[in-house]
Amino acid sequence: MNLGSGQGSMSTASSSGAWKAGDVVPDQFPAGLRVLVVDDDPTCLMILEKMLRTCLYEVTKCNRAETALSLLRGNKSGFDIVISDVHMPDMDGFKLLEHIGLEMDLPVIMMSADDGKHVVMKGVTHGACDYLIKPVRIEALKNIWQHVVRKRKNEWKDLEQSGSVEDGDRQQKPSEDVDYSSSANEGNWKNSKRRKDEEDDAEERDDTSTLKKPRVVWSVELHQQFVAAVNQLGIDKAVPKKILELMNVPGLTRENVASHLQKYRLYLRRLSGVSQHQNGLNNSFMGPQEATFGSISSLNGLDLQTLAVAGQLPAQSLATLQAAGLGRSTGKSGLPMPLVDQRNLFSFEAPKFRYGEGQQQQQQLSNSSKQMNLLHGIPTTMEPKQLATLRHSAQSFGSINMQVNAHGNDSSSLLMQMAQPHSRAQILNETTGNHVSRIASSMGQPVLSNGIAGGLLTRNVIVENGRGAGFNPVSQGPSVVEFPMNHTAELPGNSFPLGTNPGISSIQSKGLLEEVSSEIKGSRGFVPSYDIFNELHQPKSQDWELQNVGLTFNASQHANSIPGNLGSEHGNTHNISQHLNTLVDSSSRVKTEKILDPCCEITPFPEHYVQEDLMSALLKQQEGIGPVEGEFDFDGYSMDNIPV
């Protein structure tokens, strides 16, 4: 992918950079992509494994769908993409596809010796992101990473809803996707069609259209009103029209309510699905969530998919969180948790979870430092506004992720991010308003501006959990979206505004997280890459500066939130809020971040190569924000360069 001519390197170089804290050989991306292959045919499985290894992916194979599901459930963020056969004895491949889509929201590629249109169409309708005809050639596998990136990118976009994305960009995106699609057999039309469908599903997405629809930001208060109305009517009887009447919010349309309701229902469904373990958690989460939820809603712009992701996360994250800690145990949950939270935040379904989790996470963040915290920290404090901003950030999330990763901790996390950033970069470009996001991206920290990042982060985080290296971000993409936003609560104290960022970073690669521990601290707002976001969010004291971020994003141009991020990490929230506004100055900030973060070992944007692209893009948009480049080598923000 070429994000941009200038940043072109980003796509590959940055990605690799992301993976390895910048030390990595640039062309490593997408090496390390964590693939799960499911096929009952041992011959095919053996061949696929070898092919994927040759592509430098990390492969896990299983010959039963049930095994695959339990593997996935056991390690939510453990994989980036799944390849599954259609015909399997214990479970239909499409069923598995559905499960994965709902629970984990990972990109799934179907494959079969059957090339009949009917079957292929089934793949499309069930949400597979690609369909390979057997015998599979290695060339077809080489490009599967695009699906991971694309998904993340889409999620970002969803987050953005608030119209930060420009139409032009949007349109660009689809076309780009088209180019990418394909792995092989079926043609681009299918992929692009599918993609378009996905995009169309996104609620109120302005995709490709030139008209911008004002997006409704589902703030905490708004959501609370919504929930109150729904509860009053009874979930069964809650119809958009009545809810709208009860809410009595001027300017809110029935469509807004309808789509929000849809998400909410999904969220509830998911809750009940996971309620087994999470009962306890949910409840606890629910409470605080409201607040976070609000922020999440803002993020809503997510389309169902995002929600799904979120939903998935929450459930899963919740479980993790619960396990991890309500008691907070530890870092380990860190990742999953944040993710969950994050997701929730975004998808509002989960908000509940998030919130609770966020809190925990916050703790965790501090504890675990790596993983989750990042995520958690970020969103929690996000306020609706911020959320909106975050969205933008989310876009930059891609970049942010990168940034986060870039933080130098783990290349892996960065990698993830990197991958994303590319997509994000584009997004970033689109959202001029999203300076924050851009900045974030530039920051190299995937941090995804808190809210957005959160979502994204969560994704990444999830992925990260174990991984540090590699592809975490990518896979996590979808879920991550929620991340930052939700966790406002999470910010442990640190201004971790970006909170999510930490998550993001954490996601990326656990490895990074570890190193970055300081960064990841999640609470820290590891977001360093996110700086932009973080800064914005930098909650002074956990307020999840997101708010700031959100606000600042737009204003961010000047805000330098970036530095803030670092500060936040340490709890230097001070910077953050201010930074947000000064995103524009991000460049300076970025550097500051580094400085700010004494604790953070990670230099905020160390090698975020990736970020550079994003950053530059952002920066450009920002009007030439001072380049963060210090670390990143951005020289200018050649946003244009970001290959779309």
Binding site: D41, T43, C44, M46, I47, H87, A113, K134, P135, I138
Partner: protein, 150 residues
Amino acid sequence: MERTQQHRQVAHMRQSLFDQGLLDEQFVQLEELQDDANPNFVEEVVTLFYRDSARLVLNIDQALDKTPLDFSKLDSYMHQFKGSASSIGAKKVKGECTLFREYCKAGNGEGCMKTFQQLKKDYAVLRKKLETYFQLARQVGPVETACRRK
């Protein structure tokens, strides 16, 4: 000298497998995957294929013995078999699988049986030839597949 001759022999044998339509490009893909880490990868895959597909062949045989014939089941078995065979590049066998499935769809039991008999023959022939080929190739050592098709 002798080595060169052996090399040529191996290469020739390999080429003839392609020329006779027994193998296709997918086999080359497998060869390309072979490296120092897995120097006998192709052979391992083929061995695995034969081992695993034996079970399927048996299932199909048994199903063909039943009356009336359960075409959808036969088709399902054959679909699996075809997937496996195609993944190792067994071109001829794969063609027969397709033909078999056509007969299944048409509900033509006779056609299925006849096709399957032929399929089993080709399946066995291929196995022998590949075994010989691998043996020779191993003796000779890594051979550069110069005459790779396409």
